[in-house]
Symmetry: C2
Subunit: 185 residues, 2 copies
C-alpha cells in the first residue's frame, strides 16, 4: 500500500504541483482509503521528500558518470535525455525539484532542504563531468567546474520554466545552442 | 476598492503562489468583503492577468532601453536590479511570471498565454539591447540576439529557482560570472 501511495504521489505532485495536490487526491489516485495515508507517512511533506528521492533516480545522473563516451558528449546526452522526458509530456509538468523549489521552499523548511540537497547532488555530478572535459581540453578552464555546473543546472531549470509558458521548443533550442556552442567551448 | 484588491493580490500571489492563494485570502488581505470581488473581477484568473501586467511595470525594462550608458552595462544593471529586488526579500517569492508558469500554465490557458506574452516582451527588450551591444562590438555576433536573449531570460529564471532552494547567493553569482564573462563576450 505504501508503494501504491508513493507511485500515485509521484504522478499527482508532478502533474498538479505541491499545493494543488492534497492527501485526498493522492489516496484517491492510489485507490486506498484516505485514513491509511497516515499509517505510512507522517505528513504530505514527508511523502514529498520520498517522491523527490524517487524522482532523483530518474534524472539520468548515472549516465553522466559512465565513462563510455567523451565527457562533453555525456553532458549533451544528459540534457537531451531530460529534454526528451519533457517533450514526451507535451512540455507539461516540469521538473519536480524546480516545482517544489518554486511552490514550497519558502514555506516548508524540510522541502527547501530536500531541494537544496538534490540540486547540490546534481550540480556535483555535472561539475565532475565538466572537470573531466576540462582535463581532456574539450572545455576551457577559465571558469571553475562548480560555477559552470551551477549555471548549467539553473539554466536548464529556467529553460523548463520558459517551455511551460511557450511549449514550442524555443527555450530548449536556445539552451543547447548557447550551452554547447558558447558556454562549454 | 478595485485598486485595494489588485494591491493585495499582487502581494499575496507573489508570496503564496497562484494555487495557495484563494479569493478569500486576497479579499481578507485587501480588507474588503469577499462578495465585492466579483463586482470587479470575473475570476481569480482574470485578476492574475492584471497582477502580471502590474508586475511587468516593476521589471526595470525601461532602464534597458534608455541609452544613457553602454548597452552591455545596461544589461548588467538590468539583472543587478532584478537580483537586488530578490535579495531584499531574503531570496523568497521569486518571479511572478516564473511562479505562474510553473504553477498554472499547464492548467489555465489564459495564464499560459499571459506568461508567454510577458516573457516574449521581456526577451524582445533584452534582444534589442544585445543587438546594440553587437553593433558596438562589445558582444560577438556568433549567436543571434534572439537566441541569446531567450537564453539569458531563462537562465535568470532558473537562477531564481536555485536561490529559492539555497538562499545563499551562489546561483546569482554563477549567473553574473558566466553571463558576463563567457556568454556575452
Amino acid at each position: 500500500m505504501r508503494e501504491q501511495i508513493v507511485d500515485a504521489a509521484f504522478e499527482q505532485f508532478h502533474k498538479h504541483g505541491y499545493n494543488a495536490c492534497g492527501v485526498k487526491l493522492i489516496t484517491d489516485s492510489a485507490k486506498v482509503p484516505k485514513g491509511s495515508f497516515y499509517n505510512h507517512f507522517e505528513s504530505k511533506e514527508a511523502l514529498a521528500l520520498v517522491v523527490m528521492d524517487r524522482y532523483g533516480q530518474t534524472r539520468h545522473l548515472d549516465e553522466l558518470q559512465t565513462p563510455k563516451t567523451a565527457p562533453l558528449a555525456r553532458l549533451r546526452h544528459h540534457f537531451e535525455a531530460l529534454a526528451q522526458d519533457i517533450v514526451d509530456l507535451g512540455y507539461e509538468r516540469g521538473c519536480v525539484y524546480g516545482n517544489f523549489s518554486t511552490e514550497a521552499a519558502d514555506h516548508i523548511p524540510a522541502i527547501r532542504a530536500g531541494v537544496e540537497a538534490a540540486f547540490g547532488h546534481w550540480a556535483n555530478a555535472i561539475a565532475a563531468t565538466i572537470r573531466e572535459a576540462q582535463d581532456d581540453r574539450s572545455v576551457t578552464t577559465t571558469q571553475s567546474p562548480e560555477t559552470l555546473a551551477r549555471f548549467l543546472l539553473n539554466s536548464w531549470e529556467g529553460a523548463i520554466v520558459g517551455e511551460r509558458a511557450a511549449k514550442d521548443g524555443t527555450s530548449f533550442a536556445a539552451f543547447f545552442t548557447v550551452v554547447f556552442e558558447v558556454v562549454l567551448r
